[in-house]
Amino acid sequence: MSDVWEYFQKIQDEDNTIILSINCQLCEAEYGVSTSTTTLRRHLTGVHSSVYTSNKQKQAPPYTLAEQKHITVNLAQWISVDLQPFSVVERVEFQQFIHTLDSRYTIPCRQTIKQEIDSLFSQRRTNIQLEMNSFTTKVALTTDIWTSSHNHTSYLGITMHYIDNNWDLKKCILDFIPIEGSHSSRLILSKIIDLLQEFNLNNRIISLTTDNGSNMLACGRDLANELEICFCNLSFSYKRCAAHIINLAVKAGMKHLDTSIMKLRRFVIKIRNSQVLLDDLKSICRIKNKEFLMPIQDVETRWNATYQMIERQIVMQDVMEILVNSHENILKSLYPTSSEWPKIMVYILF
């Protein structure tokens, strides 16, 4: 960022959306929004030469290319780890913040940041390959498909677990592959085989763990055949995720749920969907000097959600009863009765 911005201010409209003019903070001289920094610097050297040149002499010399690069790498790491948009470097507030901390650093543009992150990714991938080549132990992989709610893209995440030369158990994300189209076993298999070849793991993989989805099961079976036929890897075995099996068992039991649980679920949905009820619940919590905890609604795909829904209701039972009494017409019929609560309590014993 140019040093002239220490002396000039961008004047914006009331909504802070449009820049109206650029004003000198020393003499209030006004310039158009498209005025170049060269013109602004000429103003400073011509009109305020004593202030500008003496301040400029005090300034430390700019960073060398290596120093500048070192800071940019750290900036790129923060942007990638914190999931910031590349355009954050072009935000005026961010630029001012960095300039306040260190006026010697020139913030790169978003294209440079993108290149830097690509470079970091390649470098990290190479490091993993080098590390894998430095020892000969077996590796175990886990994989799952996850769909981002942000860009509605599906990703195949593959994590590697291994024991290094120091006998320390290690794990790292091996890849995070965008998946387009149907999540077929053939597609998943091809992605995994490509990855195994890239990292030269065909003879070193001992297991693949996935959920119990039919596509994953088929992929595991086909991978075992492929490794045996093409790479004589007979030690590979396909594993099913144990936590997912517990979830399947719980879901099998949930088919026999008592109606009292369904009633509690409707009660929770009613409260969560009403801002008035939520505000009243918060007020009751304040009066009772109790921490407000949002009612939890169970979701089929979220593990432990029914347990958590019941547990949360038990914790909040005293304030919930006050809420029910103050909104009898809406909530009385939805709230479990004293004879239904013992049936609900049975579920948290499991």
Partner: protein
């Protein structure tokens, strides 16, 4: 079920031993509830599902790893027959590893000289295989006969 899910999902390094512990614990706990609870349908449904997966996909594949975990060793088995079968299988596996690789069993320094003599004697007498097996089984038996240590690092035996 909640505790089991939390244990397996939140642990940074869950082992096959942890898996056996939680699954056998859940099955035992559900059997206990089946007699007490008035929710037989739910208990039965969960138990049956877990039991199917346990016998079909988990029990056999987790046994050897669980024995080699110094936290549990042979404590997490349903019965003696299954346990002894797994120990025999482990010994066979260990033998084949020793035969097919350069791995040597741990020996104390006092034993080293004696072992070297044995080695040459065995070379002469062509009895390398049987002698090596004894050393291997000694190591497994020593491991199994020492008490479990829940605080030990399973990778440091």
């Amino acid at each position: 079920m909640y505790k089991a899910t939390k244990l397996l999902s939140s642990s940074s390094l869950p082992t096959q031993g942890d898996l056996r512990l939680t699954f056998l614990g859940m099955l035992a706990s559900l059997q206990q509830y089946n007699g007490l609870s008035n929710q037989h349908n739910i208990v039965n449904a969960i138990y049956n599902k877990l039991e199917i997966y346990w016998h079909k996909h988990l029990s056999e594949s987790s046994a050897i790893s669980a024995i080699l975990n110094s936290h549990y060793k042979t404590t997490i088995f349903n019965n003696l027959v299954e346990r002894n079968e797994c120990i025999d299988h482990l010994k066979n596996l260990f033998s084949s590893y020793i035969t097919n690789s350069h791995i040597t069993p741990n020996r104390t320094s006092e034993e080293t000289l004696q072992t070297s003599r044995n080695y040459f004697l065995n070379m002469i007498n062509r009895q390398v295989h049987s002698s090596a097996e004894n050393i291997e089984f000694d190591e497994i038996d020593t491991y199994l006969n020492t008490s479990n240590d829940i605080n030990a690092d399973p990778l440091l035996w």
